[in-house]
């Protein structure tokens, strides 16, 4: 395993797109230390900010420290594992195609933006635009799984096309906005305008204990039925298999199904969990 320990002392963002398991696997420590990272408007060697040790031949990287200013870690990664012991900045796993990223602390905005495959698991909170499309882009997340154990900000899964996003605590406004397809599971209370403009896909609100009360759906969503969709049982067990906490009571519950958004294609669904 290759270990990168944060030794930087800067408030200026550090853009470290080069930190991916597959890119660093071939390189000796000396070469990794010489890799260029963007620090503000200058390029600096990696050694300015990280103490590098170990060997990444097994495809595993460990980052240590509070790196809330370090951006683009794991961007475009196609395989291997990155574990972050601490906080991490924006654009974590952006456009990632495979592999696994685990963060013990919080992550910034744009976690897994336009991601294509793999798994990102953040044990703390995440910022805005988890799995979203970049501004001007036609599609957001296109595959893979993003699990945020804590809360997340606005526009979760914006324009996502495929994949699964699960948020363990409160979610911001416009969750699943303009979704094309895919699944967004919200285990805490959501903000306003859930699923606005969604064409297809699933937004499941599984708020079993926040006490936030019933959510206000947009009037362009239409009630359909109460039932227990089998695929939810499948997906909830899949999340459990990834060590994402899913309460036993949620497995037992049923769902109220609304379809929408009627201002768009209207083939999306919002499933609101309720105890059986």
């Amino acid at each position: 395993m290759l270990t990168l320990r944060w030794i930087g002392n800067t408030t200026v963002p550090v853009e470290a797109e080069c930190i991916t398991a597959d890119r660093l696997a071939d390189l000796p420590v000396a070469d990794i230390e010489r890799l260029a990272v963007q620090h503000g408007n200058r390029q600096e060697p990696m050694a300015e900010f990280f103490h590098v040790s170990g060997d990444g031949a097994d495809g595993r990287i460990r980052l240590e420290g509070s790196m809330s200013r370090v951006k683009w870690v794991g961007a475009g990664m196609s395989g291997g594992e990155i574990s972050v012991d601490g906080e991490i900045g924006t654009h974590l796993g952006s456009e990632m195609a495979g592999g696994r990223i685990t963060v013990t602390g919080n992550a910034g905005d744009w976690v897994g933006a336009e991601m294509r495959g793999g798994l990102i698991q953040v044990h703390g909170n995440a910022g805005h635009q988890v799995g979203a499309a970049y501004r001007g882009s036609r599609r957001g997340m296109r595959g893979g799984t993003i699990l945020i154990h804590g809360s997340a900000g606005n526009e979760i899964g914006s324009t996502m096309r495929r994949g699964l996003i699960a948020i363990g605590a409160a979610a911001g406004d416009f969750a699943g906005v303009s979704m094309i397809a895919g699944s967004v599971f919200l285990f805490g209370s959501p903000g306003i305008r859930v699923g606005a403009g969604m064409k297809r896909g699933t937004i499941a609100v599984l708020d079993a204990g926040s006490g936030a009360g019933p959510i206000n759906l947009l009037p362009t969503f239409q009630f359909e039925c109460e039932y227990r969709p089998t695929f939810m049982q499948l997906f909830l067990r899949y999340l459990r298999g990834l060590e994402f906490p899913v309460d036993e009571t949620i497995l037992e519950g049923k769902y109220t199904r609304y379809c929408g958004d009627q201002v768009a294609l209207g083939k999306g669904e919002i499933l609101i969990w309720q105890p059986s």
């Binding site: 398991a21 291997g80 595959g143």
Partner: protein, 356 residues
């Protein structure tokens, strides 16, 4: 055409037999609980196999669906596939946490199997209350389309969901090659991701969930043994015990015939040209006097246990378990059906199978 019988040399050491079987042995002769094990072999054939996991709200509806989907699937002589219930599954063992059943299908060729499985699941599982159906062999190289065909029943209202499963580790592979006189490592990513698509077809009690693709493997069909007993009651009891023992102890196999037992064993061909198979007269006690019978004196009833498995090892294990359970009072001999070794590549020598 009578079934050909051949005499084969026993090539299992006597000490092995003594260690594994109760009863006495002469060279070339084996007995279990006083029942003679004929020195012959079962001849089996490669077939393409698939496994479906069927779940439902209650075990009652699981059993109904599993029985329906495996109906009229005893032999490819006249059925589109051979099928049977491998075992019932507890909620903890199914993908959606509901009661379930594992069902195996066997067919000659992937295309025929695909058609048979899609038809059967479409007509017998999708129509059955509360059910869902999953691929029971994920990660195989070859697949057949099932949910991907049945989805059209949704008439445009069907939707799909996809899950990504990590198959092994981080999917990291390391290769070494010589470059410029020094060994350098080239690491290449393997996706190691299994993408499983599930179709949600709207039906009147909610949704029918069916996996898009089902994995297939090269299985083995037609493993068998014959129970020759002095009475119908003894033969039936032995056959039932064999079926029960295989069901309890063996995985990856089915017994596709009714109750796992065959009364109408067949031989290849017939005096009637249009028939591919006809009654195995050599084992029919009622025509013993007018045909070339294979029945020893005192035998008045014969049952056959036919075994289809996902592998030859699974068929061997089921044969071993089944034969041992069938060696009870009233059974005179255990034999096996073959075609002289000319048709099927798998030859399961009874003595070898039972020696370990």
């Amino acid at each position: 055409m009578s079934r050909l019988r051949v005499t084969l040399r026993l090539n299992v050491s006597q000490s092995t037999i003594d260690a594994c079987c109760s009863g006495r042995h002469n060279p070339g002769r084996m007995e279990i609980n006083g029942v003679e094990i004929e020195d012959t072999f079962a001849e089996a054939f490669p077939m393409v196999a698939a496994r479906a996991i069927i779940t439902a709200e209650t075990s009652r509806w699981v059993e109904i669906a599993a029985r329906e989907v495996t109906g009229y699937a005893t032999s490819v002589i006249a059925c589109d596939a051979e099928a049977g219930i491998e075992r019932l599954l507890s909620p903890a063992d199914t993908p959606d946490g509901r009661p379930g059943a594992s069902v195996l299908f066997f067919g000659f060729g992937r295309e025929k199997l695909e058609k048979a499985v899609a038809n059967r699941i479409g007509q017998c599982v999708m129509t059955c209350a509360t059910t869902a159906c999953y691929n029971g062999l994920p990660g195989t190289e070859k697949t057949i389309k099932v949910g991907g065909s049945l989805r059209f029943f949704g008439d445009g209202f069907q939707t799909s969901k996809m899950l990504e499963e990590r198959v092994q580790g981080s999917g990291f592979r390391v290769q070494a090659k010589e470059a410029s006189g020094q060994q350098s490592a080239i690491r290449k990513q393997q996706s190691a991701i299994l993408r499983r698509r599930f179709w949600r077809v709207p039906v009147m009690d909610g949704e029918f969930l069916c996996e898009d693709l089902f994995g297939t493997v090269k299985g083995v069909a037609g493993g068998n043994f014959l129970i020759l007993a002095d009475s119908l009651a003894a033969a039936l009891q032995a056959a039932e015990q064999a079926v029960e023992a295989i069901g309890k102890n063996c995985r990856d196999v089915i017994l596709p015939f009714p109750g796992g037992v065959v009364r109408s064993g067949s031989k290849v061909g017939s005096k009637y040209k249009k028939l591919r198979a006809s009654t195995n007269d050599a084992y029919c006690p009622t025509v013993r006097g007018i045909t070339r019978s294979s029945l020893p004196g005192g035998v008045n009833a014969v049952y056959e246990i036919v075994i289809d498995g996902l592998s030859a090892a699974a068929v061997v294990e089921a044969t071993r378990v089944g034969v041992r359970a069938a060696c009870v009072s009233g059974v005179r001999r255990i034999s096996a059906g073959n075609y002289g070794g000319n048709l099927g590549p798998h030859h399961f020598q009874l003595h070898e199978v039972l020696a370990c």
